[in-house]
Amino acid sequence: MAFDVVDRPAEAAGATPPQLGVGGTLRFLWRLLTSMRTALILLFLLALAAVPGSVFPQRGVAPLRVRDYYLAHPGAAPVMDRVGLFDVYASPWFAAIYLLLLISLAGCVLPRAVKQWRTIRALPPVAPRNLSRMPEHRTLGSDRPASDVVAAAATELRQRRFRVLVADDGLSVAAEKGYLREIGNLLFHLALLVLLVGVAVGSLFGYKGTVVVVEGEGFANTPTQYDDLTLGRSFRAADLPPFSFTLDTFTAKFVESGPKAGQPAGFDAYVTYQKEPGATPQQADIRVNYPLLIDGTKVYLLSHGYAPTFTVRDGDGNVVFSGSVPFLPQDANFTSRGVVKAPDAQPDQLGFDAIFLPTAVIDPQLGPISGSPEPKDPRVFLGAYAGDLGLDSGTPQSIYLLTTDQMKRIGRHSLGVGQTWHLPGGRGSISFDGYRRFANFQISSDPGRQVAFWGAVLALVGLIGSLTIRRRRVWVRATTGEAGRTLVEVAALSRTEGGDLTGDVEPLVAALAGPDDSQPEEQS
């Protein structure tokens, strides 16, 4: 493409630098960009540029850790954020490197592909005059006429899948093999472009979201139901497939004894799903490594936790909250935190800051903490607040956090299952009715997945071809020597590095020497 510009140097004559001209400069820059040396430097830069993304927390991988980093380094974090260190792989400088590398790759590979298209049909070059200068060279004598030996060599080479050209005089033959090496090389590089197209398609036309679903509750695939949803740039929310599912039960098994006690052993989310409203409900078991595929969309089980069930009554005795609230697990034993908000409570709104422990233990240092991931002795530890929850201000609030600026703490208490705490001052009560489990699902569709997959497979095939296939030429020439005996010369040249030619030459020499002939005399 750049050559189009180069072909019109006159237009830019005014701005011509003294020696090169705009066309010349562009040509120079293009050559520079597509040179192997530049590709090498770009490869280095790409490797180096990928490093910070593994050192600093990345928004795409761990947004919460980015927030923590901000809290820990309030001075440096905003500067680092500005240069993209929390979003390395989406940053302009990372993109600049791989785009330059892509252009360099295309600029290098496409002309080579055109050239290869021509050479692939070309016949091997005729035998050079002086075959003895070739790296592999043998001579042998034969009693057969020269043209017979050459014909036999041509047959032998054809059988060995060489491309063969017999000279017009019938006294020499040229053969070449291993054209697929360069094809493999080109395939590898072009397949990398295909792979990147797949990645691009995925990010344009895909979507990805997460949702927490408590046992017994359901999910319908519409934007409002997601906790978090990212749509590809060219994906419209209206195109979300209209499936829905209900989490019937969630089971979690843990290693019960031994050194790894408490380590997870298996999770199953049993769901009932419908492809669209009115379709036949179907059952499925979603496990880690075994996502559910509905209509091109995959539903993954990411994590799970406990959702304790509460009933809150206000000072007037009215039920102002009832239900299961997902709590965020804090450690491997599912010490979980969460909040309960009762905005309808009278006279004041009520809020509870709570810790749920599946197996309650009071640690002298850490306080209430869970001793096991399994619900052997479930308890909640509650802090109660009364006042204004701040929900009317219009700013969206996290369902896992309580804003206590305009609230007063009215007490702390712990409850076992079935117990009720009557709040001080006749403000009402809260009952811990039990718990359910919740599952955190990722729901995503990546239409570029298949393209990327085949790009990767082709790249691998091309790579293997380009590294294992050897390109080599073999020549045989026969001349009639003194006493009518035929002198046969066999020579070979490897066109790729480290090629061992004896495997090509030895069998050919043996075949031409024939059973009755004298031993081939080795030269050089």
Binding site: L40, S54, G258, F453, G498
Partner: protein
């Protein structure tokens, strides 16, 4: 979980370490007094003139290698070292084979004791990787590659790896976490482990190549051969080391590519995306890019030879970093590997 089998596995690994130490001693003796010394004497017979001319000869050989010629056409390179295998070298190879068998027994009994593929944590990866390095080397020897000189330089790092595995990384055999319960564990991790073996062999050859190249260049510049000369004299010439390193990496690179692709497919199944720049993925990518650069460098004027060797070692460092540092210090999806 079968405790006695797990115990048996540990005993196999300890025995393997003992036998491997003996193999290392045998290789050291061979290197100092056996075939290594013979090579050194051969180099001396050729005289300092030849040693001095090596860079030229090697250069010529390399030029020929591009046009494809083996050394037979080149008079200086025609004095290619004979494939000497001393008695002690053979003892070393036998002991290494025994070590390999013991390690395989250790891995198998560990797998049987846990009732699963025994590559679920870093201890198991390390033992597998050690087995793979020895296996790859023995395989290449069996294929007729003249790599006996590597004995000392392979057994030493393997012994260190095993030592680290049994002391720092040891974990009891146990069930796998659910994320690892997939047949992709067999495919992805196996490919990565074999690649680790091939990379290690390639890196060992590259280090030796850089040593010989260093001495050659000092001699060519008319300086004293330096302290590395006794080592260099006991090794094959620079050109053939370079060629062997290339062949090894050219085998490792597609294998690594496959391991990364298999990992991406597994990630798509387990985590809902095939690539997410998890630290492990990032460093696998960095390793891949370095070795891609190595292969390109070998085809670029001004970069082939020594500089390409350094790039390969950078790639191998990234690989090691990915294996040890990322598992231990970094936060990410691969952290469940367990130390």
């Amino acid at each position: 979980m079968n405790e006695s089998l797990a115990h048996l596995s540990n005993n196999f690994v300890y025995s393997a370490m003992l036998v491997l130490s003996l193999a290392m001693v045998a290789f050291a003796v061979d290197f100092a007094f056996g075939s290594g010394a013979e090579r050194a004497r051969a180099a001396a017979r050729r005289g300092s003139a030849v040693r001095t001319s090596v860079p030229v000869a090697a250069g010529a050989a390399r030029n020929l290698a591009e046009s494809g010629g083996p050394e037979s056409a080149d008079p200086a390179a025609a004095v290619e070292e004979p494939p000497v295998v001393g008695r002690w070298g053979r003892v070393g190879v036998s002991l290494t084979t025994l070590t390999f068998a013991l390690l395989v027994a250790g891995v198998v009994s560990r797998g049987l004791s846990a009732g699963r593929l025994p590559w679920g944590n870093m201890y198991e990866f390390s033992v597998m990787a050690a087995t793979a390095v020895l296996g790859v080397w023995l395989f290449l020897l069996a294929r007729g590659r003249q790599l006996q000189y590597l004995g000392l330089f392979i057994t030493f790092p393997v012994l260190v790896t095993l030592g680290v595995a049994v002391t720092l990384l040891y974990t009891e055999a146990a069930q796998l976490v659910p994320a690892l319960k997939s047949y992709w564990l067999g495919i992805h991790v196996t490919a990565a482990i074999i690649a680790s073996g091939v990379f290690t062999v390639g890196a060992a050859i590259t280090v030796l190549y850089l040593v010989v190249d260093h001495v050659d260049r000092r001699v060519a510049a008319g300086r004293e051969p330096g302290r590395l000369a006794p080592l260099a004299q006991r090794l094959p010439d620079a050109a053939s080391l370079d060629r062997n390193a290339y062949r090894t990496f050219a085998f490792a690179f597609p294998l690594w590519t496959f391991a990364v692709i298999a990992g991406a497919i597994w990630a798509e199944n387990a985590w809902g995306r095939y690539w997410g720049w998890d630290p492990k993925e990032t460093w696998a990518f960095i390793t891949w890019v370095f070795f891609a650069a190595y292969l390109h460098a070998r085809a670029t004027a001004g970069w082939k030879g020594r500089k390409a060797g350094y790039i390969a070692l950078l790639g191998y460092s990234a690989f090691l970093f990915n294996y040890f540092a990322v598992n231990i210090w970094f936060f990410g999806f691969h952290s469940y590997a367990g130390v």
